[in-house]
Each structure stands twice: as C-alpha cells, then as structure tokens.
C-alpha cells in the first residue's frame, strides 16, 4: 500500500496545476483499412465540465470513445490525462485512470441482483453486502433510488440505466462517458438524469456526453465538439447555438424534417391490417406477455405504438411479423387470416418488417451486404434466385447496390460485411431493403434507435412516403417526438396492454406519458410484480 500513498501524492500534485485539462486528445487517428474513422482529432475536457460529442452516425464518435476507453488503440496521436501522456491499453486501464463509461446497450446480468451486478464490475471485488453499504451513500447523494436486492430482469429500462450509472459512479471516476443515454428514457426520467449529471459536474467530475438529441445537448452541456467524417468541424458553446445551427454543423447542410399532415388518411381507406384480441406468452423468464391486443390499420395510415422498452414491444413485433405464431384468425392481412403463418408467407402477402436489432436480427454481421440483401429478398419477383434455389450473384449484387444508392448507405467500396457499417448506415440499408419492395404493410420496431439526426430524418421521410403511396404502416418506437411527427394515430403499449389509439394531431405529451406509466391491470406496482412472476 506504500505505493498507493505515493501515487496519491502525485495525484494531488497534478491536481494543483488546475489549468491542465482533465483529458486532452492530440491528433488522435484511427483507420480501418482505407477508411479513416478518426483523423487527427483534438479535444480537451476541463474538470467539472459537461462536454457534448455530436456527430452523425459514422462520424467517428464511437471509434473515438473506444480509444478513450481502451477497447481500440489509436494509430497515431496521444491521450493526455491531467497533462500526462497515457496509453489506455484496456478498459481496465481506463478505469484505473479514472475513466468510466455508461454504454448505449446495457451490459447487466438479468438474473442477478443489482448489488451483485455492481460488485462484479468493481476492480477491488467487494462482496454484495459491502456494495450495499457503499450504494446507500450514492443513492442519497444523487437521488438515484434503486433497490440493491432487486433482480435486474424485473427492473424496467430506466431503472436499469440507473444501475449502470451507479455501477460507474462506484468506480469513483473523474471522467464519465455516456453514450446516447436518454434513448431509452421517458421525458421525466431523462430530466432526472440531467439533474444527476449536473450535480456530478458541480462536484468537479467531467462528463463526455454523446448524443444526437440537440435540445438535450443545448440544455445540458457547457461545451460541444462536433464531428463529421472523422474530423472535428466545430467547437462551440451549445447554449449559444440553436438546434438548427448545431444540426447544420453536424450534417454539413440543413436538415429538413417533414411532418405528417393531419387528416391525410381518407375516411373510406380500406382496412389492411388487423389484430384481434391477440394473447401471446413468450414463455421466457423476462419476456412480457401480450394481453388481448387488438389494432386496425388502414391503407395510407401510420399507427404509432408508444411505450417504454420492455412493455411488450419485442413480443408484439414477433406476433406481427410471424416470428411468433398465434391463432390463425388473430392476425389478418387484407382480410386473409395469417396468425399461424410464418414470416415468409406474410412477406408473400406483401408485408415487410424491420426489427429493432439491426445487427444479428435484421442482418448477419459477418456477412456481406449483398448476402444480407438476400435474407428478405428471395421471393420470385426479386429475381435473386434461379431454379433449384441457385443464387444469381449479379442480380443480388445489383439489388444490394440499388438499395445502397437509393438509401444513401455510406460504407467501404465493394461488398463490405454488415458489421463494418456504422449503426445509422446499416439501419438505412435494412430499412431500404424492405422499403424498396414497396410493401403493402410495413412493421418497424424502433426505426431510428441510436441513429443520427440526418439518417433518422431520412428514414422517417421514407416511411411517410410509403404511407402516402397507400401502404399501412405500424411504427413501434420509444421516441415520442418521432411518433408525434409521423403518425396519424398513436396507441400506447404498457405491461402488455395496448391502449385505444389516439389522434396524433390532438394528443399531448402528458396524455401519452400518463398512459406509458400506468399499469392498466393493477392499482399498485406490487401487484404488477406479482403478476409478472406468475407469468414466469
């Protein structure tokens, strides 16, 4: 422990030079083959500041952060922590250097308790009981209430994120990196997260906040670094900018957002898609069973399904797509019963599906884009297959490049693997693959999750255009702004129940928020827990 003492002295000495930024990056560069993901980026974060990192998907934000957190090694440039050049060789090293990270995708063990999950993440390996004692302190200080004995699988997404944040805070970092933290939160939850972050900053901790939600960044951050194509294009104080000017810096041009015109669906539009009292139990420990869900979607109509993740979205998507089968009559397309028909037969009837998870569900990460195009485009009219199922490579390549051109998919040349694309570009490819079929019915789950402003706007525009042409569209999304912008009607999914659809033109955020928070079957949250454990 003697050296610990010595290191504390050095630490204190370093702190005294208070002009030195906590973190400085000089000329950091990382290439993947010919693609320069991050090219000569400079950045500095002062102690106690909340610094925004803004940029389109593929701008290099994730690559930059991965170098800071030690999961990638830079090709050139250096990282200075409190003025001292540092090699961050691994995430362990990063944590030892006082860098903590809250990931966009949760990395918690669902079957373990909160305290156990946190204990696992700490380098000094405390027992869960020791964690509990330490947690109390943090819970009180930051108002992040969490039951340390609760099983993570029983918690909703907002609480899980609180656990992730607490887990990082218990490592006592001096820099906390958050990657798109509010994409899973209700507006109220997001606001309370901002409170915590502001308090952390006031205690002298620095925060690197990665987001594409410009209003948030303007409300929260002191500094912003805007990246485009791997380079820094602007450094600014976001409080002095408008959302439009930030967006322009990010995209390099104006982002045009189109809104759905109210009353654009004619009253006599034919009924295209119908769900009649669907009951479905996924039969897994942490799944949510669907209870008597009915919906009707007409030609040219966009039905938005709002709700916080974990309230049955995944299960609803599976039932809609045919990955989960129900009674034949429970689902109807164009009047034909298809409830027990698998996904391929529903595609034959003109339906198209975009699942939430783009890598691993909508696409095979290790396979080339052309091979991924084939996954859902193997019907006779796609012309991708010859007799006996022999693949027509030139036709498949042509289809793939048509999708890439029409939907502005940016990637390496040739036929790269899906895993090499950034999230937004892969999402554009997946959406493009389905939309270019001109489907009669489209079901999309979280169309713009973790996707930058420009790509999101593009995808929303394409979905609305499809509805203009007379298709029936169901959009499942946690992003209320998105749903209000594009939907004709919005229904809320909560605890496996679907509310009556509300007219999107007249509904308020408060109305939706209330429906999202309420468990329609119970008056107390205890009752909900009992019900869930019964289902399991």
């Amino acid at each position: 422990m003697a050296s610990l003492h010595a290191s504390q002295i050095i630490w204190v000495t370093l702190r005294l030079g208070n002009d030195v930024p906590l973190l400085a990056i000089e000329g950091l560069t990382k290439s993947f083959g010919a693609l320069v993901a991050v090219g000569g980026v400079d950045l500095s974060i002062a102690e106690g500041s909340i610094h925004a990192l803004l940029g389109e998907n593929g701008a290099g934000k994730s690559t930059l952060v991965k170098m800071l957190y030690g999961t990638l090694q830079p090709d050139a440039g250096r990282i200075l922590i409190r003025g001292k050049p540092t090699v961050v060789a691994s995430p362990n090293e990063a944590r030892a250097q006082g860098i903590g990270m809250v990931f966009q995708h949760f990395s918690l063990f669902e079957s373990m308790s909160v305290a156990e999950n946190i204990a696992l993440a700490l380098d000094h390996k405390p027992t869960p009981d020791e964690v509990k004692a330490e947690l109390d302190d943090f819970v009180e200080r930051y108002g992040l209430s969490v039951d340390p004995d609760a099983t993570v699988g029983d918690l909703d997404v907002g609480v899980r994120q609180r656990v992730e944040i607490l887990r990082v805070l218990l490592q006592k970092p001096s820099l906390v990196i958050l990657d798109e933290p509010t994409s899973v939160l209700t507006p109220q939850e997001a606001e309370s997260l901002f409170g915590v972050l502001r308090q952390l900053a006031s205690e002298g901790k620095s925060i690197l906040y990665i987001s594409h939600k410009l209003d948030e960044v303007r409300a929260l951050c002191d500094d912003a670094t805007v990246m485009r194509h791997g380079k820094v294009v602007a450094r600014t104080d976001p409080r002095k900018e408008s959302s439009a000017s930030l967006a322009r810096a990010m995209v390099g041009s104006d982002v045009s957002e189109v809104s759905r015109k109210a009353g654009s669906v004619p009253a006599d539009a034919p009924l295209v898609f119908e769900l009649n009292q669907v009951k479905y139990d996924p039969g897994t420990l942490f799944g949510m069973s669907l209870k008597n869900i009915s919906m009707r979607v007409h030609s040219g109509e966009i039905l938005g399904i709002a709700g916080v993740a974990g309230n049955g979205q995944k299960e609803l998507f599976d039932v809609l797509s045919g990955e989960a089968l129900v009674d034949l009559d429970a689902v109807r397309m164009d009047g034909h019963p298809v409830g027990s028909h698998p996904i391929s037969r529903r595609r034959q009837r003109g339906a198209a599906f975009v699942p939430e998870e783009r890598a691993g569900h909508a696409s095979v990460p290790a396979m080339a884009l052309s091979e991924n195009a084939l996954i859902t485009r193997k019907a006779p009219e796609d012309g991708t297959l010859g007799s006996l199922g022999v693949m027509k490579f030139s036709a498949i390549q042509k289809l793939s490049s048509m999708i890439r051109d029409a939907f502005d998919v940016r990637s390496a040349k040739g036929d790269p693997a899906a895993s090499t694309l950034s999230g937004g570009n892969l999402q554009k490819f997946v959406v493009g693959r389905e939309l270019s079929r001109d489907p009669k019915i489209l079901v999309v789950n979280q169309p713009t999750w973790g996707v930058d402003a420009a790509a999101a706007s593009f995808i929303r525009g394409a979905v609305m255009e499809l509805a203009e042409k007379g298709s029936a569209v169901i959009v499942i999304s946690q992003d209320l702004d998105e749903l209000l912008q594009i939907s004709d009607k919005i229904a809320v999914l909560s605890h496996g129940h679907l509310s009556e659809p509300l007219d999107a033109a007249n509904v308020t955020l408060e109305q939706l928020g209330l429906l999202m928070g309420v468990d329609p079957t119970a008056n107390t949250s205890e009752a909900a827990v009992v019900e869930r454990s019964d289902a399991a």
Binding site: L4, W11, I343, I375, V390, M391
Partner: protein
C-alpha cells in the same frame, strides 16, 4: 516483456491461407522431436511417415482408399459445423450406415441382381441419416446438447455392431469367428485391377465440387451459414431452425453412412466388430483443417489419410507404436485450432506494464 493477443480489425486473409500450413509445419516439427525422444532417428521416422507412402503405386491407391471416407464424412460434417451444430458422432453414423447397408447381403444373401449394390448404398445412407436424426430430434424436442448425444450414440452404434456380428448376424459357416458372411461380387463395389481401390472413391471425390456448389451457390447452403452466424436473423429470414437442424444432422449422417457401407462393401467385404480405424472422429480434424471448405477438405482428407498410412508403415519398418498415428492426428488438430486464432488475432510483444509511462493509478493497483 509479455505476449498478448490483440483482436484484428478484420480477419487476416494471409493467415487464413497460412494457418493450415503453419499447423502442418508445427506438427512435423513436434512429431520429429517426439520420435527423437523415443529413440528413433527423427529424419528416418518422418520420412517413413510422410514421404514413403507416396513413393509406390500401391500405397498411393491405399492413400486414396483411406482418403475417400474421410472426405465424404468431413463434407457432411462441414455442413453441420457451418450451421453451428456440433455433430461429433459421425463414427456412429458411419457404423449404422454399414449395418443398414449390410441388410441385403446378410439377411438376403441369395438376392444378387444389379439392383443389390445400389440398394445397399441407399440403405447405408438411410441408416446414417436416421441415426443422425436422433441427436437432431433430441436437440429440437428437448434442447439436448448434440455434442453429448451424438458422441454417446457413436459408442452405442459400435456396440450394436459388435452384438450383431457376434450374435444374430454371425456367419453360420464361419467357425464361430465374430464376422458376418462374406459379400459376393454383386454385393461389393468393383475394384481397380490389382488393387483394393474401388469406384466408391470416385463418389467421394465427385462430392467435393457438388458440395462446394451447394454451400456457396444455393439458397439452402446459404441458410446453413446464416443460421450458424446469426440464429435470429435466420428466423427473420424465414429459415426454420428445426428444419435446418434435422437437415444438417441427417445429411451429414447420410454421407457418413454412405462412407460406412462403401467401406464394408469395398475393401472389407463383410461386417466385423471393427470396420473403421476412427474415420468418423478423424473426419472432424479433416473438416477443420480444410476450413469447412469442400476443396480444403479434399486436401485435408488426403493428408490425414497419409498419417494413417505413415503410422502403419512406421510400425512395420521402425517398430513405432501404431498409436503414434493418433498422436500425430491429435497434434495436427491442436495446432490447427491454435493457428486459427491468428486469423482473428495477432500476437504482440508488449513491454512489462510497469515499464510504461502509464500512470500512477495502475501502478498502485499492481502493488495492491
């Protein structure tokens, strides 16, 4: 200094080609050392092992004879492994193919028309496919791990064969030796004049381009790869994982069964307690050494056949134990899997962490 593995940004194409050769080189080197330790001249032993079998025509025939079943079985296994289904029980499917295929010559010895042999081959495939279907059924129905079930079923098949040739299928005129009756010409594969090489080998080699076309050019072959890489994407694509599980295991069972009946209706000519020097297990090495690619499997099959022959040759001329062949095969698999790591990872020498300019906090944790 310490060695560390770093994940490459993308799999290395060079290593993909080089790894099998590196593995082969390391195997030769290590087995040379082992020969020396055992008191043999390593150069002479390695010559007997890897070169001598190629110097005479008859032993080249023998090489092809042994490569045939290895290639045929490994082609089927590669389909399974691509689909992430770990069929370890090809030895059992081989044996069951031999048993099913032997039904006509043993139970209906008088039936000797031109249809007899094709019937035997088809029955062999049916037997292997049905036996491969058992672990598929157990996996689909009860989620039983196919590694365990297929391996255990292999031993059951070997014991069933043992029971049959010592009991009900024993040759009535065979002086109580544990053998079935000998197969007649109509019940056997035609051989090349003056050798044991039979035309079944042509089937094995013809299967190579067919399987290559199937796996890389057809939607069905693509489906196996998709389900192996990303099962949810396969379900989304509309490929049923149940169907694919049955298809992969029954198809590889059918190929192993075909190899089994061709071995019995070819060089052996009867059923015995032991009909395979471990083809079903060695084929696992063949499949991986060949990178699950049919053309690679063809070369790997020839190489592993060489190790069988070399083992026999070294036993005769040098008095090396025939178990040595299994040791060499085991080392080869070990080095193949080891060298495969280099495709996705690279080895770097990193300086001792304490010597880096990195910071105080890590030193503190090191000390603590």
């Amino acid at each position: 200094m310490q060695l560390e593995l770093f994940k490459r940004d993308a799999p290395s194409g060079k290593m993909l080609v080089a790894a099998p050769f590196m593995a082969l080189g390391l195997t030769v080197l290590t087995s040379g050392v082992m020969f020396a330790v055992m008191g043999f001249n390593p150069v002479a032993a390695l010559y007997e092992y890897f070169i001598a079998p190629l110097t005479e025509l008859w032993s080249v025939y023998e090489l092809l004879l042994k490569a045939g079943p290895l290639i045929l079985i490994a082609l089927g296994l590669a389909v399974c492994y691509r689909a992430n289904i770990w069929n370890i029980g090809a030895e059992g499917q081989f044996t069951m193919g031999a048993i099913f295929g032997s039904i006509p010559p043993i139970l209906f010895p008088e039936w000797t028309s031109w249809t007899t042999l094709p019937t035997m081959l088809i029955l062999g495939m049916v037997g292997g496919a049905l036996y491969g279907g058992i672990p598929a059924f157990l996996k689909v129905k009860f989620r039983a791990n196919e590694i365990l079930t297929s391996l255990m079923l292999a031993y059951i098949a070997l014991l069933i064969l043992d029971y049959l040739v010592r009991g009900p299928w024993r040759d009535p005129g065979g002086f109580n030796f544990p053998e079935s009756r000998n197969f007649s010409d109509e019940q056997s594969l035609a051989t090349l004049e003056g050798s044991r090489l039979h035309f079944g080998i042509l089937i094995a080699f013809a299967a190579v381009p067919v399987m290559w076309f199937f796996m890389s050019r057809t939607l069905a072959g693509h489906a196996f790869k998709v389900v192996g890489e990303a099962p949810r994407a396969a379900r989304f694509a509309g490929f049923s994982s149940k169907t694919l599980t049955y298809a992969a295991l029954m198809f590889s069972g059918a190929l192993a069964g075909l190899a089994g009946i061709m071995e019995v209706a070819g060089p052996i000519g009867e059923l015995r307690p032991t009909i395979s020097p471990g083809y079903g297990f060695t084929a696992i090495i063949v499949a991986f050494l060949g990178r699950l690619n049919p053309w690679g499997i063809m070369f790997a099959g020839l190489l592993l056949a060489l190790s069988f022959l070399g083992g026999e040759a070294a036993q005769i001329t040098l008095g090396l134990s025939d178990k040595m062949a299994r040791v060499v095969q085991g080392m080869l698999l070990f080095f193949v899997l080891g060298c495969d790591t280099l495709v996705r990872y690279q080895i770097r020498l990193t300086p001792n962490p304490k010597a880096t300019p990195v910071a105080t906090a890590s030193e503190a944790t090191d000390a603590a």
